[in-house]
Amino acid sequence: MSLLDIDDLRISLPTDGAPRVLVDGVSLRVNEGEFVGLAGESGSGKTVTALSALGFLPSGSTTTGQVRLDGTDVLGMSPKQLRGVRGQTVAMVFQDPMTSLHPMLSIETQLTEQLRAHQSISKKAAKDRAVQLLELVRIPNARHAFSAYPHHFSGGMRQRIAIASALACDPRLLIADEVTTALDVTVQAGILELLQQIRRETGMAVVFITHDLGVMNVTADSLYVMYSGRVVEHGITREVLAAPRHPYTRALIDALPDAHNLGEQLVAIPGDAATAENRPSGCAFHPRCAFAVDACRTEVPALRPVALERELACHVDPFDPAGRLELLVETGV
């Protein structure tokens, strides 16, 4: 049984007109100890999807589907049950290191409070555990750091403390939402190293959300690519990124500066990203896709397996390595 099992999740917000669909039938699975990546741009719905694992849903939203944590549907839980789950089974770290910690409380207070809220341990035991956590995330002079406040630390350090706080109760699943996006590349490398190390030592699973495909490539085992509230491609990360089969994934990769593009102009995706307000009919990517056919305009493609360990939501599948030479010739590859 998988640790996290999201099954046909649909989240929409009511508006004056048609409801705004934020997540449109997303299914994903995270096994124990697995690093799962959720990639996509703004408006893809990746954050909302991940938050549902913690039982956080946008206020006023209508939700269908299931989000099973260890077999139990989180969406059906009472607030009390959810409090037991959050921090204990699932924990989360956010993007902005400047606001992820309470500015007015000392590090000691923030960590021990968290511990004592979930477990009945003595103050001393909580303090010892907190020091252990700080050492785990490589904060120098952990005992000294205790009495300090968040503003004494740099962005990278604050993220480490936020991670320590999330790990306090040994969660089995950590949701890392763009945790390195606001950090410098060398600081980011440190945090990524830290996550791998923690994973080796504790066997924790991670849902790693980012729009940065380079980071995704070196971090996540399996990858879900999301566009406009739907999963468009899923597979082993390095395989998906080395040989993408969905036109959107392919386009994202091609827009990146990389060894391939030396001296050449970067290739950009025409048009604007589809948002919840103006999602096109059928396949949400069709207005920007060079391979769109009539079916793409009318029918939403389902996510189906196209190879061992690869799922794709596309009517055309133009990059199928197994054939379709005619199509390749047509588009002038």
């Binding site: 703004s42 392919r250 091609d254 950009a268 920007r288």
Partner: protein
């Protein structure tokens, strides 16, 4: 090895997505008009002010009597002939309340305009120039803030002598600091903005940039402040008149009427009707100001509801 998927879209064929909001003249005064069923207060406010404006304009046609004519019996209670009764010297209260609008409303507008001019200019200079000039000007502002406004207004007015004109000076003297502070704070924020820097890089002089780049951005918030202050202006004027320092008898100013009526409160209608008039105008301006403020502010993000990356 270039991808066949997409061509570099140098030309943007589509028009930008959002539709233009209401635009006026050379500038965009983006006022989001709220939907009526969400903000009925706005409409109440506008309606009340609108009615008073019409009353003020058409006073000679509406008022049944001459506001200064002591033609009827004194202290008549409200009746068919005198809807609001008569006062201590036999003048029709309704007519006086109607003509009172001709004094209170325009003077309130003048008060706000003058305070905005004085306070806004001082605040803009303080914020834009900074340094010693800023410090000195702000200390002067602090000085004025140290006094309760009505006391200060009284002092100025008493020194100058009771008259409507002097009351105006007194009230402007007391009100300008609020405008100065808000303007200074707005200008300080704008001073660091990149579009101002870009403008300077293109060769626009400092003074011209202040007018072209900064002023249009302060218009909105200052408008909101002015609308809210209109209510205070009416109150201050009425207060001074109540104390005998503003409008001199027999001018039908609401505050003065309340003052006269308070002395003979057994005949309640003499004070109450002008009092209600003051109240209605002040509240109406407050409603209007609130709505304008909300309309100009960016919509607050409802954290999880807006989502999403």
């Amino acid at each position: 090895m270039s991808s066949p998927i997409v061509a570099d879209p140098m030309l943007v064929p589509d028009d930008p997505s959002a539709t233009p909001r209401r635009q006026r003249n050379r500038w965009s005064l983006r006022v989001r008009v709220p939907r009526p069923w969400r903000r009925p207060l706005a409409y109440v406010g506008v309606a009340i002010i609108g009615i008073w404006a019409l009353v003020a304009i058409f006073a000679p046609l509406i008022a049944p009597f001459d506001p200064l004519a002591q033609s009827s019996p004194r202290f008549l209670a409200p009746s068919a002939a005198h809807l609001f009764g008569t006062d201590a010297v036999g003048r029709d209260v309704l007519s006086r309340v109607i003509y009172g609008a001709r004094i209170s409303l325009p003077i309130a507008v003048v008060l706000v305009a003058l305070s905005l001019l004085v306070g806004g200019t001082i605040g803009a200079i303080a914020g834009y120039v900074g340094g010693v000039v800023d410090s000195v000007l702000m200390r002067i502002v602090d000085l004025f803030f140290a006094f309760p406004s009505i006391i200060l207004a009284m002092a100025v007015s008493a020194a100058l002598g009771p008259s409507l004109l002097n009351a105006v000076f007194a009230i402007v003297a007391v009100s300008w600091p609020s405008y100065a502070r808000v303007m200074r704070s707005l200008v300080l924020t704008l001073r660091g903005s990149n579009f101002l820097a870009a403008s300077r890089l293109l060769g626009i002089s400092s003074a011209r940039a202040l007018w072209r780049e900064v002023v249009p951005n302060v218009a909105g918030p200052m408008l909101v402040l002015s609308t809210l202050e209109l209510g205070s202006a009416v109150l201050l004027l009425s207060g001074l008149s109540f104390l005998g320092l503003g409008a001199i008898p027999p001018t039908p100013e609401w505050g003065a009427m309340v003052s006269d009526g308070a002395r003979v409160f057994y005949y309640w209608w003499i004070a109450v009707f002008p009092g209600v008039a003051i109240f209605s105008v002040v509240i109406a301006f407050n409603f209007l100001g609130d709505v304008l403020r909300d309309g100009l502010d960016p919509r607050s993000s409802q954290s999880l509801a807006t989502t999403d990356r």
